[in-house]
Symmetry: D2
């Protein structure tokens, strides 16, 4: 059925979003142990037309501007969690679906140089007894496969996070170098600036390399599609999440306090203020203060604002937090093999 | 004259701010080398009544709500920079002073739990040929002392930054532990949470310890006041700036995506939405969703917002960036003594 | 009895060592759960003269060259572990005591500049049914106090580790700066060298500051002695253990490959070889190659040899590994207080 | 001529070593500025038969057990350094060549589990007016190409270092996991052990991924061979050098003090001592103490000994230190392109 749905999506050229994260309730309990039975999305009825589902999916990226939702389970399940082992596709405007959306950052802010033009929104999607026709159901109670679906999607998602955030990294590198230049400090020559730019490159290209390696070592599945190598996808995603904070730090060190103390755009529209501040805010000669402010506001937007906060939190916990990635690394890594080498080297075993 | 001014400030119980950071222009040039001669605040005239100053001081914390400004030089000077070696006190409403202020964060945001109540503002202060009477002038051309004034203030300021940010650290620790608890994960028991809380404590208390040590090893000056030990003040400030990013990271890992994807406060006022989301947003049983949201919004406010961005940038570059702190550490550290020990140990010298 | 023993030790000016670490066997089991009942030191008999103990204490620093051993329990105990809750003092040559000693490093190596002169030895002390007279017994079955004794000693020991390793740090700093100088790179001027020297200072002085703060905030006990603050003692010890590796790294980066590729001292005694290599091994003009080799061998000795390995392992796990220190930090830190502040700030509680 | 030499080496199946590192003297000066003109290897004569060279090459890995030496310049040159721009191949036993060799580690130590069997040696090779026939000369005065030769070799070498050290990493991972198991702590289950094993995997596989990516993005040269991508080769080498210290640290934390305090092998041969210690040194039940000691000695050998020190120093400075790798990263990275993206995003340029 998966293949048919893929064809359907491709033929109609649909945009889809993935709804995975449940509300989760008490994080120390499994779905069936929660006091509110709907805190994980579940099947409340099965009839001849399909399944009826109730619950909520949180942090669904892109939900408000896609055609269809693909629902996946958010974790592995036990037999008692069967009603929560559910996966299906559904139109965004199906009966019983409601959405509470929230934008990344504050796109309406006058100084939001990037996020006022480009951005994302996430949504909490409420499923209020929604009927899903059988032909759109991928999983309905087969709890043994919940974990596989979760991990499979997570591996793909983590690989794509790597590429996505490498792009953000390129922008941070470029803007930091530009700020240094506009401050009068050549990023290729001033040693402490060059050192920090190199650090930025090291952060970005090392997690990107994990993505490349995950692709290179990807394997074809029986179904004919490819699955990225999970160890490198998870290490790359893990590094990307950890390093985003180092990237913010380096860009702030390079740029200085102007990122958060530049005058409000509104103040710069008062002619007399603008005239004088435009003189004082010049760094490198012959570069208008306005250029310097534009780059400062870009860096503020992507590293020191609601948008920046969103990037950092989503980088580290979106697509699974570090703890989840570490579990996947250990689950896939052949530790036994390395241990057996040591038995040979030391003569414990031949 | 310093003592008299201190008495005056204490007797009238005045609030003062320190205006130090010049516009700086091209960061690779000294004051007198800049193409715009006013890019560092300077003396443009000396007459029988006092000195007349022109220029701007940027990033003046607290300026809009203090009685007086204390102006200090922002760096060491050479003889050619004499006109820039200037320090004085002036009333906030003296003729020729104008201020362009900017708040830290976005205090008007409905979800700004902390920064809508408590906060700071910085200002750029424009000095448009301001007359400073001689009795309020501390330095006027004595370029040899510019560096001393800068360093002396910086040492005091860096020590105070340490204590200030340790308070922010306590709040991040408390809120992270609270989020874990409300998520159903006991911060004292769940190993990966406990580990990250311990990391947070390690970050905060290690830079705080540098502050304590700087005070313990402080020395009385000839004037009768005390100067903190500069090595520990600078190391503590340096660590505080570097660790704020690690602190944000740990708090995000502990708390999860809710920090930046919780519904807007306005959406939570729609009765039907509020009723349903309040069920779904519960973590630990018996803790209202509203409590969980309040702590999430606090952490968003202080770590993943304009206010959070401000805290990070100001922590790392406010009061001098890491590079300035490293210079001070090396300037004060007795490297020669450690090198001479090595000469003795190795028998190179007796 | 403790006070009397203290007086006795002071009056006779005895050197004592502390024997704490048991063999431990399976680290996932308590003393009484081990298949070998002697794997933790235990009381095998109580009679009118005293207690008879059997077992081993490992990693006893200084044992071979002290007058007396003070035995302490290595962990907290449960009631079933009562026979293992034992503490006493005993002469080094008491009947039934045997020692298998091992030196730190390889003091006999010709190039061991430091460790051939100054060093330590640890020992495994075998207690083969040793009688301890009652007047020398501090604890014999009072399992409730085993944890207190362990923690109390650990806190003192960790504080002293901090001071000890700060001294090692000073030597690494001095020797690294000296190597840079002898390589022709002024440690105060060449930016990447200066940067790494500053890092070294930051590592050493930040953990030392935790020691100072632990002392400043130490508290007098009922017995009249002082106990260091456990939070800062544990954080300082933790940082010291983590940073020793960063210190080795920085010193290697500063110094270069000569640390491990300099000619053997024996080769440098062959006249023809010595004459020619002495020309080639000069770095900075007018500094004899021999000086440069001496400093290189010192750094090799303390960072890249058996002695260096010993310093690193003992720094990180001696006196308790990081995991033990983290437990102590959490046990002593008032997390509840920080959480209650957050309840107030957010209005959850008044 | 390069191709012919390659064929010659392949046909005779010769082992070759690369002699690159000069003695360097004062590191702040170029070759021609040194007071000793021979401190960099140089051409002292050109005649009809070939060139005559004098000087020394240091840290030549494998020199004592190869057939031929390939000499390369160690840095870029200026015109005045022409005599130092020299590259050639020479038989190991040519007239005028003498070698002072030194082994990595202390292969004769009884407890050197690995390094007594497998290991390397480096040598300083003295060139005492050695004649190199013209047909074996690759570069003789063409100073413009010295830098290209250096960088080209460095890129290849750094890529090979990555693969080499990943193997060391596998051994450290396997031995650490084995030590945990023998200590009674399942490396897959005990959370703080599992966490550190995952860290080790992260370190090793992330720098290995940079190597894979460097190969994937390698480019064919005009000569028909392939050159690895220099950015990823340098980042991988840089990470490998920085992380070796973190790897040592994690392995020490996992294993404990036994690494440097286990009894000397000689002591374990005394029957009575062996019998008793063999009981006490058991960790996990049913695993002989001897197995535990073997793994402990392996980890001591590769992380806490002369051999371990050699691995760490050679990892960080061998094949070029971090500062050299950073320079190569910046030299090859297209910073200009990232800066121009920022000009477009901010509207500074269209």
């Amino acid at each position: 059925m998966g293949e048919l749905h893929l064809q359907y999506v491709q033929e109609l050229d649909l945009a889809t979003c993935v709804a995975m994260t449940d509300a989760k309730g008490d994080r120390s309990k499994r779905p069936h142990q929660q006091s509110n039975p709907d805190i994980y999305l579940r099947i409340v009825e099965r009839n001849k037309d399909g399944i009826v589902v109730r619950g909520v999916k949180a942090i669904v990226t892109g939900a408000p501007y896609t055609h269809e939702i693909i629902v996946l389970p958010t974790r592995n399940m036990t037999e008692k969690d069967s009603d929560y082992a559910v996966s299906f596709a559904i139109e965004i405007d199906a009966d019983g679906i409601e959405m509470v959306s929230r934008e990344a950052g504050r796109p309406n802010d006058s100084e939001a140089v990037l996020s006022s033009k480009y951005g994302q929104a996430t949504a909490m999607i409420l499923f209020d007894d929604v009927l899903v026709p059988w032909e759109r159901v991928f999983l309905a109670g087969e709890w043994q496969f919940a974990g596989t679906l979760t991990e499979s999607f997570a591996t793909h998602h983590r690989l794509s996070c790597i590429g996505c955030r490498a792009g953000l990294g390129d922008m941070i590198i470029g803007a930091s170098a530009k700020m240094a230049e506009y401050n009068g400090l050549d990023p290729n020559k001033v040693s402490h600036i060059r050192d920090k730019i190199t650090d930025l490159i090291k952060y970005v290209e090392s997690f990107y390399a994990c993505g490349v390696t995950s692709s290179v070592f990807g394997k074809e599945t029986q179904a004919g599609n490819f699955c990225p190598d999970p160890i490198y996808a998870n290490i790359g995603k893990l590094l990307q999440g950890l390093h985003i904070y180092d990237m913010f730090k380096a860009s702030h060190e390079i740029s200085g306090g102007i990122l958060v103390t530049s005058p409000y755009p509104e103040d710069m529209e008062i002619p007399d203020v603008k005239a004088r501040l435009s003189e004082y805010l010049i760094g490198k000669e012959n570069i208008p203060a306005d250029y310097r402010l534009k780059v400062a506001r870009l860096l503020e937007d992507i590293t020191a604002s609601y948008q920046g906060g969103w990037y950092s939190v989503i980088s580290i916990v979106g697509g699974g937090p570090p703890e989840a990635e570490k579990i996947e690394i250990m689950r896939n890594y052949d530790l036994e093999e390395r241990m057996s080498h040591v038995e040979k080297i030391t003569g414990i075993k031949d």
